[in-house]
């Protein structure tokens, strides 16, 4: 098999698929896509609910349909795909070591590498819930795979911890399949998921959502028998005396996602402590030239459509990189998160691009706020430009445009801050 490529993409989910197609459109010739699962699409094939594609395709699709559109196109443009292939190491000079059953150990050299490994779910260990260790405790995504792909029912009486989208979607899915979801608990005073999911997944089925609540104990012998639930104070600590017991055989955890960056770190690429993804420029290129990252490995997105958009940015950027005609600014512009901003991607702007009119900046806020102004502020504290928003919430990524005309040679830093309007 061929072991030298122009572009190797690690991960065949929505990010990797978008990169492959867009890179091909931008004249990148030899492309190899590596996927560790038995099928392409990443998490999408198990996300059988609808709501995908509203932004990108302007129609509402289910996860498998959304993935299907890209997978079909991929077959048409003869991109090499290796499934059930696990990448075990990437070096800073873009050598990739991968392994699979047919080829054994593979040493692949590429001119460009795209990291598109996605993210994984936080587990019970990550949040340290005390109690015993019975069967019946699943991350929501694992339960989703069992029910929707493999055909197993994880349990009958369920408590869901976390009101993120996956948790709420699984509360509905378990209910539709005949389980009884006794409660969804959210430690924060607000839901971290979309309003639509709160209404259509919980309210539609009269599933109670308890804010400022968490599980303080899981008990059971072979199988989960009950959980202890308590209200929390402002510091998210359980309030003594508020405990109640809920009997159940299953606990689903939807307590956050972590970008899967072990390969990135091994290649020596620095991670942003907030996003837990690599630090990138506007091309989503890491500190190593020619190694790019996009999708949930870079920062956790709430919509697959935005992942596709980011993958396409990278697809085009890889094309430019391989042509070798990029022009760097004399110094990068660094972008910093200010008031009520958790992070901004990209973290810096490196290039002079003739004809570019604006750069889209993606960010996540720390807490919900209504009637705000998003200010882009320069080194001297001057407001470069500002955008009004009716509402910002941590559950929905915010984006604003940075107009190219504002970027003069002297500009070194931009801080993005949210202020009450």
């Amino acid at each position: 098999m061929k072991l030298e490529y122009d572009l190797v993409i690690i991960g065949g989910g929505p990010a990797g698929l978008a990169v492959a197609l867009e890179a091909r459109r931008n004249t990148v010739k030899d492309i190899l896509l590596l996927e560790r699962d038995k099928y392409l699409g990443g998490i999408l094939p198990q996300c059988i609910h609808n709501g995908f594609g509203v932004q990108y395709f302007k129609e509402e699709l289910t996860g498998p349909e959304y993935a299907g559109r890209f997978i079909t196109k991929l077959k048409d443009c003869q991109i090499n795909v290796k499934k059930e292939t696990m990448v075990i190491n990437i070096t800073s000079d873009k050598r990739i070591i991968a392994i699979n059953r047919d080829d054994g150990l593979l040493h692949i050299q590429s001119k460009a590498v795209v990291l598109a490994m996605g993210c994984r779910e936080r587990t019970r260990e990550a949040i340290a819930v005390p109690g015993s260790r019975p069967a019946g405790i699943f991350t929501a995504g694992t339960a989703q795979r069992y029910i929707n792909i493999e055909g197993y029912m994880p349990g009958r009486e369920v408590v869901v911890l976390g009101s993120g989208d996956i948790g709420m979607i699984m509360a509905r899915r378990m209910t539709l399949e005949g389980a009884r979801v006794k409660a969804v608990l959210e430690i924060m005073p607000f839901s971290t998921g979309l309003i639509r999911n709160k209404v259509q997944c919980l309210d539609d089925f009269n599933i109670p959502l308890k804010f400022n609540h968490t599980i303080t104990r899981i008990e059971g012998g072979k199988r989960v028998e009950k959980v202890t639930v308590a209200q929390v104070d402002k510091n998210l600590q359980a309030i003594p005396g508020t405990e109640e017991e809920i009997s159940c055989d299953t606990v689903l955890l939807s307590v956050g996602l972590i970008p899967e960056n072990e390969l990135t770190s091994e290649a020596g690429i620095k991670l942003d402590p907030v996003t837990r993804g690599p630090i990138v420029n506007e091309n989503r290129e890491t500190e190593i030239e020619g190694i790019f990252a996009c999708g949930n490995v870079l920062h956790v997105h709430d919509l697959a459509d935005f992942v596709t958009e980011e993958g396409e940015i990278v697809g085009r950027a890889v094309g430019e990189y391989l042509k070798g005609n990029r022009k760097f600014r004399s110094q990068p512009i660094k972008i910093f998160p200010g008031d009520n901003i958790a992070y901004v991607v990209p973290q810096h702007i490196d290039f002079i691009v003739p004809g570019r009119k604006k750069i889209k900046l993606f960010m996540r806020v720390k807490k919900p706020e209504e009637r705000v102004k998003i200010n882009l502020i320069d080194d001297k504290g001057r407001v470069l430009t500002a955008y009004k928003k009716r509402i910002v919430t941590p559950g929905e990524m915010v984006s604003v445009f940075l107009p190219e005309v504002l970027l003069d040679d002297k500009l070194k830093n931009i801080t993005i801050s949210i202020k009450r309007d």
Partner: protein, 127 residues
Amino acid sequence: MEQNKIICISCPIGCRMTIQSKDGKITSIIGNACPKGIKYAEEEFINPLRILTTTVKVIGGELPLVSVKTEKSIPKRLLLKAMVEIAKIEVKAPVKIGQVIKDYLLGTGVSLVATRNIKRVDSNLFS
């Protein structure tokens, strides 16, 4: 006079609206921040509709299940009834995306269609 509470899903604000009605007819809607809320509240009050997505058992496929959806939205009150009906269905591989799995689900005139391809194989990926 009856009162219903509805949360608008048109945008992240999630306006909590109160609908007052008499004999099934809306007399007032309050709590909305924009006209989208009124439209949403009316639809939700008169005939709330949902797309149902679930899975159907596959015989002889690479995977034991195929994901399916109702081609159009169906009345919300029929969701659980539809699940009982869909649980009885088995389909033979191969299955093509968009293939009609069942016509006229519960007499709604809405079809159940496959949302992914399932190849035919002798033993599935997880057996």
